[in-house]
């Protein structure tokens, strides 16, 4: 390996996992993905040029495609995007240094996949519902509606703040309701921070293979009950990105 190359690490898998020949890595042109074994473990890696900046959309997509594709056939511990080491020796050092902990974590992830439920409030539906319930906000709405911002700025800020707080409260409640409704079909759950100001729910679940169907049905029911208010999406199956914590593994 030349001076100017490094190994990009995607994830850690059991040693019997082999990348398929068509697996494409990050970089342009995409690097070939190989497995470097140590003991019961292997790391999925591909060579990258150190001069080449990474993080293009295609790099992120390749990283996710490889990890999600692996996760449906074998447990995988995602390694943070952008982790590059000097060479194969460094990969083996990494696997050796944490062998037992990685192996135990992989055992726990056997036959488990992540699903993320992400929902967004319909803005008009949410706000009209809020105004119908909150007389003070409705009065403010009457004051600002149809008036230019410059004349009604203070009232607008107050009204907007009330709406924003209502969204936050409702989001907490929806996250709780979602976990109550579908959490029993999952091994673990974690509420994620909102990624949009109208986010209604955002929770990741770790789901066992034999509970997948029931889990999905429960999410469908949840979505159905809120179909006018929340646009609900189910993203997955995914590698368990939200269920490997750096701290848990490194301590």
């Amino acid at each position: 390996m030349g001076q100017e190359n490094g190994l990009f690490i995607y994830g850690i898998v059991p040693s019997d996992v082999e990348p398929t020949p068509e697996a494409e890595g990050v970089g342009s042109p995409p690097g070939e993905v190989i497995a470097i074994q140590h003991g019961e473990l292997a790391a999925l890696v591909s060579e990258v040029g150190l001069e080449e900046p990474l993080g293009r959309p295609a790099d992120l997509t390749a990283y996710e495609r490889l990890l999600d594709g692996t996760a449906v056939v074998a447990p995988v511990l995602p390694v943070r995007f952008g982790t590059v080491v000097t060479g194969a020796d460094a990969v083996e050092d990494l696997l050796a240094a944490h062998h037992d902990r990685f192996a135990a974590a992989l055992d726990e992830l056997e036959d488990r996949l992540q699903y993320t439920v992400h929902g967004r409030f319909d803005e008009q539906e949410f706000i009209s519902g809020f105004l119908a319930e909150n007389a003070a906000a409705a009065a403010l709405a009457d004051e600002v509606r149809g008036r230019p911002e410059i004349e009604s700025r203070e009232q607008r800020i107050r009204l907007g703040e009330m709406i924003s707080q209502a969204v936050e409260l409702r989001r907490e409640a929806e996250n709780r309701d979602l976990i109550d409704a579908v959490g029993r079909y999952a091994e673990a759950d974690v509420a994620l921070p909102p990624s949009h100001e109208l986010d209604a729910v955002r929770v990741s679940f770790l789901v066992a293979g034999d509970e997948e169907d029931e889990f999905v049905r429960a999410v469908e029911d949840f979505a159905e009950r809120r179909r006018d208010l929340i646009r609900t999406r189910l993203i997955g199956p995914l590698a368990p990105y939200d269920f490997v914590s750096a701290h848990q593994l490194v301590e």
Binding site: L50, I157, S195
Partner: protein
């Protein structure tokens, strides 16, 4: 939002987006960024600092800008509060000048007075917002 990557049973309230990087770039960024095992100090001597293009996950912090945007959404409300009787007719009149769906569901007399220039300027503002939004979102997704 790319519809082609999203599936769902006909009539289902739940949209399904496959993993494997099949979602939008925003989905990919939100799914993978800042997740996963971090290599610790023991082997960090072998970790190479590579140049990562700047990718920022969206962090939502409520600000005055957010508040003003919500207030603007109130201007665009086209849904009549459910407990108010007789309004649809009034709104129907007021909406004559505005495009359906962007009509301002003003209450009582005010609604009747919204016509011509006022409704037009509201409508313009509405469509400006819609043009702005995707552009801003794309910027933030990178």
């Amino acid at each position: 939002m790319t519809v082609s990557t999203t599936t769902g049973q006909p009539g289902s309230a739940l949209e399904r987006t496959s993993g494997g990087g099949g979602g939008t770039l925003a989905d990919v960024v939100e799914t993978v960024l800042d997740k996963g095992v971090v290599i610790d100090a023991q082997v960090s001597i072998a970790v190479v600092g590579i140049q990562l293009l700047e990718i920022n996950a969206r962090i939502v912090i409520a600000s005055v800008e957010t508040y003003l945007r919500f207030a603007e959404a109130v201007d665009r409300l086209s849904i009549v509060p459910k407990d108010t009787k007789g309004l649809p007719d009034l709104v129907g009149d007021a909406a004559g000048a505005a495009t359906k769906g962007k009509a301002v569901s003003g209450l009582g007399k005010a609604a009747q007075e919204i016509s011509g220039a006022v409704a037009d300027s509201l409508r313009d503002r509405g469509s400006e917002r819609e043009r702005e939004r995707p552009r801003r979102r794309r910027d933030e997704e990178r």
